[in-house]
Symmetry: C2
């Protein structure tokens, strides 16, 4: 950093008070006299002083920042959540640091360093595969951590999540209500908690409805558009086809519809498709996508709020879980069987 920014010393000199008083005037205005406050404010204006956060943080042993670990920053799913987190954090005067967990630099060790290094007062994890509980160091002296969207079944760290299996149930019931009895599912990436939850929701609901969960109607995927297109190819190759498909996210639903379209198969006339997430394009896709909405910026806000409470409360890192409901949005990609 360049030198010569005014320091608290400069302000003290101009105001003719001690640095302690300047500091107090800033942090506890009510503890200095009205007159002093005025003089200090004045000196601050004249010098153009702003507090050096680094020095303050060193002294206070805090960082004024939280870090968010994101599996893929370029993915709109995460950026919407990030947006909610940032809005809440900035309102609370906290900076937000981000790191993409696909970067080789972000090893578990580095996560530990973020915390130890006094870089962050807390951590939000959007990647359920991350295991901060494995970081050496007593958990007692670890800053708060909360999972957002994803979580890890091998620890009981607090998390904020959507009701994934409930959302999947909504999708399947909707298809059933339309008269569909042959229902398929496009899965997310293996080993992902969301994939498991959504699949679970689909299977349970199928079961409850007395419908068959046919192995060849469960298409493998990875949340990408391309995976949806691959599922379309598989659907086309089937002897007996499902008349409706619930995809584990909107991208795959779109890729699926698009793949079918290129083969001359129409959605919803030939197959009904429901997505998951309600991404921006969903209502302008052709056909407009019926999907399970998850309020993504809200979950980000909710996670940030939970984290900040823990930071401020300084309290116990009690395991806790908050679940946000999902909602079905019916549009034009589904119709009666």
């Amino acid at each position: 950093m360049t030198k010569a920014f005014p320091t608290i010393q400069d302000v003290a000199r101009v105001a003719k008070v001690s640095t302690a008083t300047v500091s107090r005037a800033l942090s506890f205005p009510e503890r200095v006299s009205k007159e002093t406050r005025r003089v200090v404010i004045d000196a601050i204006e004249r010098t153009g002083y702003t507090v050096n956060q680094t020095a303050r943080n060193l002294r206070r042993k805090q960082s004024g920042a939280i870090v968010v670990l994101v599996p893929n920053l370029g993915n709109p799913f995460f950026s919407k959540i990030l947006s909610g987190i940032e809005a809440t954090a900035s309102r609370e005067g906290l900076n937000v640091l981000i790191a993409d967990t696909r970067q080789p630099q972000v090893s578990p060790r580095l996560i530990g360093e973020y915390l130890h290094a006094n870089r962050a007062d807390g951590l939000i994890l959007l990647d359920g595969a991350l295991r901060p509980d494995l970081i050496p160091g007593a958990p007692g002296k670890r800053p708060p951590i909360v999972y957002c969207c994803e979580w890890n079944e091998d620890n009981d760290l607090p998390s904020v999540r959507f009701d994934n299996s409930g959302g999947a149930a909504l999708a399947v019931r909707h298809l059933h209500d339309l008269g569909h009895r042959r229902i398929g599912h496009i899965l997310g990436p293996a080993d992902n908690v969301l994939t498991k939850e959504r699949e679970h929701g689909v299977r349970c609901t199928l079961d409850a409805l007395g419908l068959e969960a046919r192995r060849d109607w469960f298409f493998e995927g990875d949340f990408s558009l391309a995976a949806g297109a691959r599922a379309a190819a598989q659907w086309l190759a089937l002897d007996e086809r499902p008349t409706a498909v619930a995809a584990a996210n909107d991208e795959m639903a779109c890729g699926f519809i698009s793949g079918l379209h290129r083969a001359g198969v129409s959605v919803p006339d030939d197959v009904s498709v429901v997505g998951f997430d309600d991404i921006d394009i969903a209502d302008q896709f052709i056909p407009a996508l019926t999907t399970v909405r998850q309020p993504r910026s809200e979950i980000g806000e909710s996670a940030a709020t939970a984290l900040i409470e823990r930071i401020r409360g300084g309290g116990a890192d009690a395991a806790e879980m908050k679940t946000l409901a999902a909602e079905l949005i019916v549009r034009s990609s589904t119709r009666t069987a």
Copy 2:
């Protein structure tokens, strides 16, 4: 931050050397003896020490972080760029702080604080409306700043940008090559540099081709899907309609196509449409979108690299501009007139 993390003192004690030596072993390994290095490394392992960045930064007068100011974090356009920035920064050992410029907290004053407060060694601006040159304080002692994608015509801060007008020219020429002679344009938000550049490219090319730039064929927009749909409504209301439309971004192109589709108008059979950006969904949209590709993670990397060079070089904040070429991707939303 919680207490009791091991400090350099602890390491020194265990290694039976001075803290100065530990510090050197970490920062300038070649300046300590092989034996000492071994002993220090060993002590670090045993204590679980990681450097306290806050203290280091205070001493070194740097922050080890850059801040990226984003107009809308939830917008995939920006998140892709952010991803490129983050990848480069993290590779160089720099943390990245983000702030959404729509947050009221991010006033110009706050931008100044980011810099003064020793919070950041440099700044990347994705929002051309931001004017860091207006921040009080001599520019000489300001950390480096670079615009990315957008820029501001009222200052000559360095920027990395796409060839927007060249890209628009590509789009119009492509339409012309297909035999279209009645060509319209959907504009981005007013007052945006990208809007102006793209419109400029369209107008110049139309002119060069001897085609008319009809006022009622230039539809107002704002880069949103909804704006595209509104343009579709306007197109439908026209007496004389353009047979081809170049949109200033892909979202508007998709919204436009979707709006026409709902009215029974087919793209590309009835109108040809070309987008701008090549967003993820572009090739799975129905029809697959012909568009002008802008390598967004590359521009992010490029901006981060430029910033880091300036930070490391410590050098002059010379005005400089880097322009990345755009490329036309022909798919199915355009056809012969």
